[in-house]
Point group: D4
C-alpha cells in the first residue's frame, strides 16, 4: 500500500466540489493523498487528533480548505510541525474576504501558507513544489507542467493571430 | 473563596491593556472573574483543556479577545457549551477588520457573541446581562448602570446649554 | 399557557425566510418564543414600548434581525436590560457589510451580541446557551446538539473514505 | 428671543471639536441654532422626546453627528418629519466607514441626508441651503459664500503663478 | 402650467428604472417635477447650463443619480445654490461603493445630501421634507406618510401573530 | 501592410469578450492594432520578449488586461518605455478589487495608466488620445466622438421629455 | 518663451507637497509645465475654461490631483480631448480609497489614466512617456531613467552582499 | 562554504527592517540564506535571471517581500519551480491590502505561499517547515520552537495569576 503524502482536509462536504481540484492535481503528479472532512468547530478533538498524528502517519503536507471564519488551517497548523496550506473558500455574504483574512493573518509563530480564494489547484501545486524540494523527479514534472501551461498560452495566441478576433470568439462559444 | 463566574481569556499579554476594561467592568458589578493568557495557536491543548474544564469549574461565560486571524473565541466555543463572547482586537495592518471577520463569521452550530473591535467593556456588560437573566439583583444593577449613563449624558448636555460651546470646549481641554 | 422566553424581532416581513431558522432552532430545543415585526425607523414607539415591556412579560433574551443601516438591535438594547442578540441581514448593494457594522460597532455601555451575517441559527443557539447558564437540562441538550453535529461530520468523513471522492460527489448531486 | 432654526445634536461631548464647525458655519450665516448632547443608545427616551418635540419648537432642520454604529441621525429621522442631516464621525478602529454605512444606508421611508465623514461644515451649509429654499436673502448669502470660495482658489492659483512652486511652498510652511 | 419644483437628473437612460421611484414618490405627494438625462462627463456644458439656470426656473431641489465615479451630483452642486440630493447608483464591478464614495465624500464648501445606494425613494422623500420646511400642508402629508408606514408594519406583525410563522410565509409566496 | 500602432494583450483567452471592446473602439478610429495572449505568469519569457521588442516593431502604446493578482500590465511596463494602459478585469471572488489594486498601485518609476474595472473601451480611447497628442486628425476624430456621445445624451433627454417617463421606459423594454 | 507641454492641476494648495513631485520629475526630463490650482467644485467655470482652452494653448497632457470625491480629473477629461492623468490623493478618513474610486471608475467614453494613490512621480513619468511616443529623444531619456533605477537597485543589492544585513541597516539609520 | 538554502528577496532596501525578521529566524534554525534586493519592475531582467538560476545554485525556497502592487513573489514564481513564499508588505495609503491581494490572488498554475501582511517571521518558519519535510533534525527543532512558544505563554499566564492584573501591567510598562 502506497504511503499517504498529502492530506486534504475540509470543514464540510459542501466544500468538496472546490477541493476536488486539489485531489485531481495531486493525482496528475502521481502523489498519494487522502481526503478528510474534519471541522475546527464541530469536531475539534478529531481535528486535533488528526493533526497531531499526521506526522507519524507519514503525512508531509496538509492542505486545509474552509470558508467564513476559516479556522481549520490555523487549528491544524497549531498541531502539525510541517507545512500547512490554507485555501480560503468563497461562501456566505462576504464572498471569501472573511476566510482569506482568517486564513492568512496568522500570528507570529504559526504560519499558514495561503493561496487564493478557492485556489485549490494552486494549493496542490504548492504541495507538489514542497515535496519536490528534495526530489528531482518531481522537479522535472513541475518544469514540464509549466511548459504545458506555456505551450497552451502560446498556441492560443497563435490561433488568435490566424483566425482573428471574431472567428476565435465564435469558436469559443461552440 | 468566591466561585469564578466569568473567564477572561486573551491570546497574548500585549492584549492586557484593552482587556483590562472587561475586568474593571466586572469588578464594578461585583462579579468574580479570572484572567488567563491562552493562545489558540501557541497553546492549543491548554486552550482546549481550559475550555473543556470550565463548565465543571463553574464558569458561566467566557470572554475571549484576540487579534489578526482571531481564532481564540471560536476555538473555545467549540469546546464550551455556554456563551462565549468574542472581542476582535485592533492590531496589525488591517486595524481589526481581520479579527472582526474571524470572530463573527462563525459557521452554523458554533456561535460566538461578538462585540465591537476593542469592545472589552461591552463584552463584560454582555456577560453581566447573561448572568442577570435569572438574577433580579444584577438586573437592578444593570438598570442603575444605564441610568448612570443616561444621567451623565443629560448632565453634560445641560452644562453645554449653560456654558455655551466655547466655554464647554475650554473646560474639556483642562 | 407557556411563558415566552425569547422574542424574535425583525424590521420587515421580507426578513422572515432567514429569521425562521432562529424560530425553528428554538423549537428544536423546546424553548417558547414569539415572532414580531417591528421597525426601529417605521415603528419607533412600538419598538421602544416592546423593548421596555419585555422584561416584565418574562422575556429573557431578544433576537433582532435587520438589514442595511441596521438599528433594530441597538434600539432594543437601549431599552432592555438583558441580552440582545443582533443578526446583520444580507440585502442591498453592500451585501450585509453595512448591517454588520451597524450592529456590531455599538458604543461602550450598550452591547449587542452580534452573530454572522444571516446567522439566524447561531442567534438562536446563543439564546439557548444564555438560558442554559442556570439550567442543567438545557446544558445537556446543548452538549447533545454538539455531539450530533460532531457525529454528522465524522459519518460523512467515513463515508467519503469508503466511497471515494468521485462516488461521494455523485451521491451529493442526487 | 430669537427662535431656534437648527438643532445640532451629537451622541457624546467628545464629538464637540468636530461638530463645532457646524455651529461656526451657521453663525457665519446668521442662523440661530442650539447644540445638544443626546445619545440614541444612552438616552433613547430623551432623544425621542427631543425629536418629537422639535417641530413644535420651530426647529426646521436637525443635524446629527455620531460615530461607530451611528444610529443617532436615523433615530431622530424616525421621529421628526423635516430634514435630518447625518454626519458620520471618524473614530474607532474602522475610521468612520462604520458610521458612514450606519448613517447613509437607511431603509426606504426614512431618509437621512448624509454628508462626508466628519463633514460638519457641509452639514451646516446643507442646512442653510434648505432654509434658503424659500428665502432669497439666504440664497444671496450662499451665492456670496461660493464666490468667496472661488475667489480664494483663484487668488491662490495666481499667487502660485507669481511666486513659483518653491517659494509658495516656503510661504505655506511659515 | 404648474411650476417645476424638483428636477430629477440622471447620467444615462439606463438609470431610469431605479430613478422612476423618485418620480413616483414625488407624484404621490403632488409635487411637480421634471426628469432629465444629463451627464457630468458626456454633456458637461449642458449639465452646467442646467444647474446654473435651475434657480431662475424655480427649481427648489435637484435630485441627481449616477453610478461608478459618480460626479453628477457634485457637478450640479458646484453650480446650484440650493440643496442637491445625490443617489449613488449600483452598477459595475464595485456594486455602488464607488458611487457612494464619489457622491458623499464632497470637500468642504459644496455639500451633497447623499442617500443610500439606489435610494431613489428616500431621495424624493428628502426633497419633500425640504419643501415642507415652510409648508404645513406637506408637513401633514409627511406625518400621514409615516403613519401609513407604521400601520403597515403593525398590521403585518398582527397578522403574523394570528397566522403563525408557517402560514404567513405560505401567504407571502402566493 | 499597415504598421501596428497599438498592442492589446491579455493573460487568457477567457478575457477576450471584454477585451474585444478595446479592439472594436480602435477599429472605429482607424487605428491599426494586434491582439495577443501572453501571461505574466505562464509565459513570462514571451511576455518580456514581446514587451522588449515592441518599440522596435513600432508599437506606440500597449493595452494590457488581466484579472486577480493582475501583474501583466506591470510586467510589460517594466520592459517597455512608452505608455502601458492597464485594464483590471473582473473575475474571481473579489470582483476585480484585487486586479484594480494590482494594476494601479505601481511603485514610483514604473507607471501603469489604469482605467476602470473592465474598462476596455476607455483603454482604447486613452490609447487614441495618446496617439492624438501629435496628430490633428485624431484630435478631430476624438472631438467628433465626444460630440456623438453628447448628441446621444441630449437626444435621449429630449425624447424623455416628449414621451414622458412611462412611455420611455416601455420603449426601452422593447 | 518655451511652450507649456504639461499642465499640473490640483484642487487645493494643500495638495502642493505631493504634487510637487510631478513638477520635479518633469523638470528632470526638461519638459515645460505649469502648475495651477483649480477646483472642480469651487471654481467649476474656471476649471472648464482651463480645460477647454488647454488644447489651443498647446497643452498636450493634463495631470490632475484631487482627494476625497475626486472629480477634478474627470471634469477636465470631459472638456479636453487629449490624455488626462488622474492622481488620487490620500486625505480624509478613507485614506484615498474614495479618491481612487472617484478617479478610476470613469464611465465609458471619458477615460482618466489613473496612477497610484499619491503617485505624483508616476503621473509625470506617464506624461513623459506620452510625449515620447513620437519623440526619440525622450524615448532615450526614459530608457536612461529606467537604467538609473536599475543601477541603483543593483548597487544597493551588491552593497548589501558586501556589508551584510546588520551593517547595511546601521548605514541606513545614519 | 555552506550552500545557500533560502533566498530572501525584496524590492527595495526600505523593506529591510521588516525582512530582517526572516533572516533572524532562519539564523535561529541554522539555515543558510542570502539576502537580495531585486525589483520586479526596476530590475526585471535581473529578477528573472535570479529566479531562473536559483534552482541550479541549490536554492530550495525563495522568500519574496514587496509592497503596493506587489509583483515580486509572482514574478519569481513564474520562473522558479520550487516553493515561493510571498510576504505582502505594509506601506502606502492602503496599508498592505493592495500587496496582500497582489500576492495571494495568483492565477491557477503559479502558486505563491502567502503569509500575513509584514509576516516575515512566519515566512521564515514556513521555509523551515518546507526544508523539514525530509529532515528529522529540523522537525525536532520546529517541535522545540513550538514548545518554547507554548512555555512562554504558559509562564506569562501563571505570572499573571500570581501578580494579578494591576501588578502585571505595571511590570510590562517597566
Amino acid at each position: 500500500m502506497k504511503k499517504i503524502m498529502i492530506s486534504i482536509v475540509m470543514g464540510s462536504d459542501s466544500d468538496l466540489p472546490v477541493m476536488k481540484e486539489a485531489a485531481d492535481t495531486l493525482k496528475e503528479f502521481g502523489i498519494s493523498y487522502e481526503v478528510i472532512i474534519s471541522s475546527a468547530h464541530r469536531t475539534p478533538a478529531e481535528t486535533e487528533k488528526f493533526a497531531k498524528g499526521a506526522l507519524e502517519r507519514g503525512v508531509k503536507v496538509i492542505i486545509a480548505g474552509a470558508g467564513l471564519a476559516a479556522h481549520l488551517a490555523g487549528s491544524i497548523a497549531a498541531n502539525f510541525p510541517l507545512p500547512v496550506i490554507g485555501i480560503p473558500l468563497k461562501g456566505g455574504a462576504l464572498n471569501g474576504i472573511d476566510s482569506l483574512y482568517s486564513t492568512v493573518q496568522m500570528p507570529p509563530g504559526i504560519p499558514v501558507a495561503t493561496v487564493a480564494i478557492n485556489g485549490a489547484k494552486n494549493a496542490a501545486l504548492l504541495a507538489v513544489q514542497i515535496l519536490a524540494v528534495d526530489n528531482k523527479d518531481l522537479q522535472k514534472k513541475l518544469i514540464n507542467y509549466k511548459n504545458t501551461l506555456k505551450e497552451s498560452v502560446i498556441k492560443k495566441s497563435k490561433k488568435l493571430q490566424e483566425l482573428g478576433l471574431e472567428k476565435y470568439l465564435e469558436g469559443m462559444k461552440k
